[in-house]
Amino acid sequence: MAASRDKYSVLLPTYNERENLPLIVWLLVRSFRESGNDFEIIVIDDGSPDGTQEIAEQLIKIYGSDRILLRPRAKKLGLGTAYIHGMKHATGNFIIIMDADLSHHPKFIPEFIRKQKEGNFDIVSGTRYKGNGGVHGWDVKRKLISRGANFLTQVLLRPGASDLTGSFRLYRKEVLQKLMEKCVSKGYVFQMEMIVRARQLEYSIGEVPISFVDRVYGESKLGGNEIVSFLKGLLTLFATT
């Protein structure tokens, strides 16, 4: 079977995720074992003071150092560089990026993989805005902001993908490497820029509807600052790409 030649490296950037890390790893391992795909999980911890790394060490003892890799960094350095750092240690030919806070459920990964094979896509992106996709734990205001922002983005950038700010995606390793060289933004805008650049470079993008369950442990963030930096980023991409 072709599946046996592919290996999937999951990059999990963490900061103070000691509650969530064991749970997400457990769900990941189960999902991969059930689907029979080869995998590794790379935990990139940015010096969490809450003992996230100690939890990761325990997980390595349970699941083995070939499945769980802890590749920490000294301090909080941002998402983009976390992916670069993680990729250096990745042995898979596909990279999966997702949040470690349980808002992205590993049960969708087999669907991502199926989708990727089906269309031989360079990127498969999870989408909250299509089909059975959706969110949990958002009030009407938050949903309105999300829908409004998404509509504005679609009108201005016509990106060819329905969920630009989401961060649950599967990439061919060399595609992600190439994109990382091109992308300069931070935060939400970083995820948007990845898709916009991907389209410029004529990479193909498949989509899989996902349910996004907002943080069970810890706090979710959407303040005025996020909205302002989102708009700034959107306009920057509008004017420069």
Partner: protein, 99 residues
Amino acid sequence: MYRFDTMTKLLQWLFMLALLGGTWATLTLNLLGLDPLPPPVYQVLWLLPTYLLVTFGCYSLGTVGYRLATFNDCEEAARELHAQIREARDDLAQRGMKF
């Protein structure tokens, strides 16, 4: 050669606006000095940008409103996740995990 699809989105918008705005201004202000347009045509043409703007505004509000109303709540996904969290904790504790 400057290709439309390699222009930035901003330039694409400006280009299209200039093209459409120019055509509209030429016709309404009769810049080419042609025979005047028949009054019914002129009346529609004169307000066309306003009509388009209002239509686009309505379309936007309608689309966002519809998508807001049909945004899935994923209650089932949340319940499933909570059940799995308990399962995961129990299983990991059995394997010697100290939370």
